[in-house]
Symmetry: C2
Subunit: 149 residues, 2 copies
DNA sequence: CAATAAAGGCAATTTAATTTCGTGGGAAGT
DNA sequence: ACTTCCCACGAAATTAAATTGCCTTTATTG
């Protein structure tokens, strides 16, 4: 099955409300509940829908500090990269880790309770990795748009 | 109601699978379905759960190009910032827009079908905004970690 | 220690998800 | 152009889940 108009609409709605009932979804896209459900299940089976996530309010949960952190490595071997990635994988503070082109190798998204907690992360996690050469922090003051939240 | 052990577990599970059935969720956290449901609804009412989203596989949907883009403004007035933010708001290619500290003002996350489409965005959207002074693109080669996807 | 409030569990009810089955419309082949 | 076949549809029945009402338990406080 290819992604036609109906499936596009289904994905669009599920991106907005991943917990919409199948009946309401069917109604919105103009299909019967059974046809709609079959499409959703097929999209899941194909891996086009990878999953569903609840979106939490970090502020209300005590997360008061978010930043992007760029990291440059001193060595660029495969081993060195893997070691870094493994260390990052373990760290709860790091929500995202992207390997990017440009003057530094990695762009991280980090979230902590406050600046003090960030400093700890900065020193104990990043500062402790031998392959890390440069660290630059860009504190998020405001997120004007965040469609993935 | 404060966030006790049960609610923490509920949030944890919903972050992983936002569409888990209430019965399964109740079972996982060790509550009865009714008690569990009341907690979830309370968390939603308090805005701690902001919503639910389906997570899609962009690659399978024809998104082959993702990048972080830093933007510096030539003017730093409130008006200028608002004009920029409004333009960004309208752009489908921009998934995130963060106002950050550092040598540039904004960090964007942009996704397009391919490099050609990105060039169009770069020229027609960013290049067309009078307040934009500097643009720097950091292509994502790989995302080692992305807990928000 | 009793009163009261807050949260829990059970069971009944409402609502939704899922399955089954028959039908129609379009594609492929003759 | 006709026939066959297949795919996806919708309707209805069935199964399962969400939700509600009510009573019980637990925890708090005067």
């Amino acid at each position: 099955m290819k992604i036609d108009k109906f499936s596009k609409e289904i994905l669009q709605e599920l991106k907005i409300d991943g917990r919409i009932s199948n009946i309401d979804l069917a109604d919105k896209v103009g299909l019967s509940p059974s046809a709609c459900l079959r499409r959703v299940q097929e999209l899941e089976r194909q891996g086009i829908i990878k999953g569903y996530r609840a979106i939490l309010d970090n502020r209300k949960l005590g997360i008061g500090f978010s930043a992007f952190v760029t990291v440059g490595l001193s060595v660029h071997t495969k081993d060195s990269q893997q070691a870094f990635e493994q260390a990052i994988e373990k760290s709860d503070e790091v929500l995202e880790c992207h390997n990017v082109t440009g003057p530094y190798e990695y762009l991280l998204r980090v979230e902590t309770a406050d600046l003090v907690a960030y400093k700890t992360f900065h020193t104990d996690v990043l500062g402790d990795l031998p392959q890390v050469a440069t660290i630059s922090t860009h504190v998020i003051m405001e997120s004007t748009k965040d469609e993935r939240k």
